[in-house]
């Protein structure tokens, strides 16, 4: 039965996931082209020195991509459910309602995470071809909050989308956006290190938000 539920999520999102995979691949290739261009134009020595002196982001193109992926995936999953209140059909299935929602959320989180966890090592291993481990590590630390914004954006968007009332949905967007801005504070590479555990905690806590929206849906709040 859960397999069926996952099948439904897959049908809803497969085109979106394919799109995102293509975008990630394209931007990934572009990032490496940019780095190679810099190596050609400035020389690798210069680039290394700049990396330790000025701490530039090697993958600035990936700053908002995980966020977008999370938002897009949640929209693809939950907008059709709320359209014409199809969620009634889903919750009417002979399964525990909490487990139904849990399955849907897990599907989305895992989809976002897979995309990110496939991308991340590719970026870092690629960078490691021409850069020492310290610079790779610095870039990992820079990417970490941006990538964590992916599942966070997914869960917060799910919370907003599943909310049945328009007024409340807009009210939810405000703290949602502010919370997502926590992942994009200006910082040096490594500056986020003490904050990353809190961001992970935020992602875990945000997992529960959608249950509140769904409970309101069940009560028939309009």
């Amino acid at each position: 039965m859960y397999k069926s539920l996952l099948y439904k999520e897959w049908i809803k999102t497969r085109s979106g996931i394919a799109c995102l995979a293509v975008i990630f691949l394209g931007v990934g290739i572009y990032s490496f082209m940019k780095i190679n261009e810099s190596i050609r134009l400035l020389g690798i020595v210069n680039l290394w020195e700049t990396a330790v002196q000025k701490d530039p982001a090697m993958f600035p193109q990936f700053k908002y991509l995980p966020l977008l992926a999370g938002i897009l995936l949640a929209i693809m999953q939950y907008v059709p459910e709320l359209q014409f209140k199809r969620l009634k059909l889903t919750l009417h299935l002979p399964l525990n309602e909490n487990k139904i929602l849990l399955t849907m959320l897990f599907y989305g989180v895992i989809a976002v995470l897979s995309l990110l966890l496939i991308t991340l090592p590719i970026l870092l291993l690629g960078l490691g071809q021409r850069f020492p481990s310290e610079i790779v590590w610095a870039n990992f630390q820079q990417l970490a909050p941006w990538f964590l914004a992916g599942p966070a954006a997914y869960l917060i968007t799910a919370w907003v989308c599943l909310e049945p009332q328009w007024k409340q949905r807009i009210l939810n967007i405000i703290p949602g956006i502010i919370a997502l801005s926590f992942f994009f504070l200006r910082a040096k590479s490594g500056g986020y290190q003490p904050f990353d555990p809190y961001l992970i905690l935020l992602v875990i806590v945000a997992f529960f938000f959608a249950f509140y929206s769904t409970a309101r849906f069940k009560e028939g709040v309009q």
């Binding site: 069926s4 049908i11 199809r86 059909l89 299935l93 002979p94």
Partner: protein
């Protein structure tokens, strides 16, 4: 014998507008009950309350003896629910939706679904969202019949259907309910043909039930009148 559906003292408001006060009714096993009423009298609201999708201000409904907001998975599995407008997961195609639902219902009757689908002149890989209203309704009902539930709850099943389709479903429903083990709770705002289908008739007006009795009895009380005539007489023309 406990009734299949039992609603007690349901009171509900939307904002300050009273929908019903102290609504009580029961549906016995094996019956087809038609809930008739004009637009806005709260037919869909009752269906929502019955399935736990709306918490009324007061009162309780029980389906198969379970409180509406705590329906067990097993009970939900034996209720076939048709949403107003024949809403289904229209991003599926005809094969995908069957594959999706099949795993949830142990008594799944594949032939019931494909039998209905065959009547549609469409390829099985066509997406439901690209189909006409009548075709979509056939898909939604096909899924319900394949599910083989003990209780069918149909919210305005005739909406948007041409007379041919409507007749087709009336026949399907009669066939479905004939052995007396199945119960049907349906709402409609089109009264035409209903006397052929429903065993019990419940007419809803703003805030209350005007009438709840067996259709047969009702027709006998009003000889030479159709159910539609009786309905208009009771509720007024507009």
């Amino acid at each position: 014998m406990t009734p299949i559906i039992q609603c007690q003292n349901i009171t509900h408001y939307y904002g300050n507008r009273l929908i019903y006060k102290d609504l009580n009714f029961e549906v016995q096993k094996g019956k087809i009950l038609g809930l008739l009423g004009k637009n806005g009298t709260g037919k869909t609201t009752i269906i929502n309350i019955l399935n736990g999708y709306l918490k009324p201000q007061a009162g309780v409904c029980r389906v198969f003896g379970e409180d509406m907001d705590k329906l067990s998975p097993k009970t939900k599995g034996s209720i076939g629910l048709l949403l107003e407008g024949h809403i289904q997961h229209s991003y599926f195609n005809l094969l995908q939706i069957e594959k999706y639902y099949r795993r949830f219902f142990p008594k799944w009757k594949r032939d019931a679904y494909f039998g209905l689908i065959e009547k549609l002149k469409v390829t099985p890989t066509q997406k439901i969202s690209t189909m006409s209203c009548g075709q979509r309704s056939q898909v939604a009902l096909g899924i319900l019949f394949a599910q083989d539930p003990d209780l069918l709850i149909l919210d305005d099943f005739s909406m948007g259907l041409d007379p041919g389709y409507r007749r087709l479903f009336v026949e399907y429903l009669k066939e479905y309910a004939k052995d007396g083990n199945k119960t049907v709770f349906l709402t409609s705002h089109i009264i035409q043909d209903m006397e052929l289908l429903i065993d019990d008739c419940m007419i809803l007006d703003y805030g209350k039930i005007l009438l709840h009795k067996p259709t047969k009895e009702l027709m006998e009380e009003h000889p030479n009148q159709t159910l539609e005539d009786i309905f208009i007489e009771l509720t007024g023309k507009y």
